[in-house]
Symmetry: C2
Subunit: 229 residues, 2 copies
DNA sequence: CCTGGTTGTGTGACCTCGGCACAGTACGGG
DNA sequence: CCCGTACTGTGCCGAGGTCACACAACCAGG
């Protein structure tokens, strides 16, 4: 590839490496034309189901704006977020499903209004075979996601609830505020609404957070961080 | 490939498809020679650590006889089996680690005396690039394992203990007997020894199983199966 | 602006499960 | 046969999930 690694992709940090819309830049002209001709731009409203377990996966999505949430749902209605797909990323599970020919195993829903670039599976496979950069990207993406699953399992099984909740709050906070219902926070850590409510209330009583409908304000980040030990 | 699919690999059931020592048969002569020259035969005793999180993974193992157990361990000593690698299979996590260049994320230990064919990562990568059958095999293997992880998460988070325990007993039983300590059964489902002991004792009292040191005999498979609903 | 439906939150009662402590029991080697 | 080392059994408690229900905030339509 004449145009290999124009943005130093190989040396980016973990966070950037899996989020390269710049990936498309690395393809040669023929491949880019193929994408131009075949890919489809989709607008999807918040809270729509994009994929389900068992789906055939004739296309693979790239998130341009918004966010996809990959999650498992139990019969009893409980829910656990596996990971999120941010702008510039694609869905590693869909990729694996297409490459292996085996069924898809999770729910994917939009967590906000989202713009997707939808690439036909045939084109995806062809690029996977022809373009080393494309192949490398998806293998790295998959590797990160599998790593995420490992940590998720650790969290669910070996870590107590306050720790996981504090972690989510500190991670998802924007200038000290987390916009989410208790229900959504519970889904984030695979717990239940009531338990999250109780934990938050306890923190509010000791002045660590301030609660209002649909949002949690972090009053004392230090106190929360202390939970993480 | 002149010799493609000599054993109908493409049409095997899920259980067989990921367990093809026959995979090696599908490679062309050049590839087979490469393996012969570079692969190394290893004997490993029971209970040895084969891989750890963060390992560089200069080789990838194929199990010839015995069994590898892939698992996570918590700081407090609890343990959860992610999946097992049976004779004829390889380790999908190691493959992903080599292909993506990103760190390895689990423990692998021998659960009995095991013979391994150890293939250097360079050879693995070359075969992955050159041999469609090799590539397809590892993608399918990985896909199954990721599927396993999904079900594992469901089990741990959404399924009650008697159900998971009954499932393990029925799966691992050989002519009505499971040879395992309560500790090992607990690791299988990510629970603790005491809880497993109590559950088994309760089943023994109602005549569903018979307990002795290091083994569980299933007296009434029907009663166990009824747990699975 | 009131008003009733909808969505989010708070809380007590109860149950399952994990952790701790400790006792009791089989096994295996000297 | 005896002792150390695994393995098993069980009471107790605390964390967290479930059920039931009350209440508070928001939102639309009159």
């Amino acid at each position: 590839m004449a145009n290999a690694d124009p943005r130093g992709l190989g040396r980016l940090t973990a966070a950037d490496e899996v989020r390269p819309l710049s990936l498309l830049v690395e393809l040669d002209d023929e491949a880019r034309h193929l994408l131009d001709r075949s890919a489809q731009l989709l607008q999807v409203g918040a809270g729509k189901v994009v994929m389900q377990p068992g789906d055939p996966c004739h296309q693979i999505p790239f998130v341009l704006t918004g966010e996809l949430r990959v999650h498992r749902t139990s019969a009893s209605g409980r829910d656990l977020t596996l990971y999120r797909i941010l702008p510039g990323e694609s869905c590693s599970l869909t990729a694996l499903r297409i490459l292996s020919g085996l069924p898809f195993s999770a729910h994917v829903t939009t967590s906000e209004d989202t713009t997707l670039l939808s690439v036909p599976s045939r084109v995806f496979t062809q690029l996977y075979d022809d373009q080393p950069a494309w192949r490398g990207y998806f293998l790295r993406l998959l590797s990160y996601r599998v790593g995420d699953l490992m940590e998720l399992i650790d969290g669910v099984l070996f870590t107590d609830l306050p720790t996981r909740l504090a972690d989510v709050l500190l991670t998802r906070q924007e200038s000290g505020v987390v916009r989410a219902t208790h229900e959504q926070l519970a889904a984030e850590i695979g717990s239940s609404r009531e338990v999250v409510s109780r934990a938050l209330k306890a923190w509010e009583r000791q002045g660590t957070v301030a609660l209002s409908r649909g949002q949690v304000a972090i009053v004392s980040p230090q106190a929360l961080a202390r939970q993480l030990v």
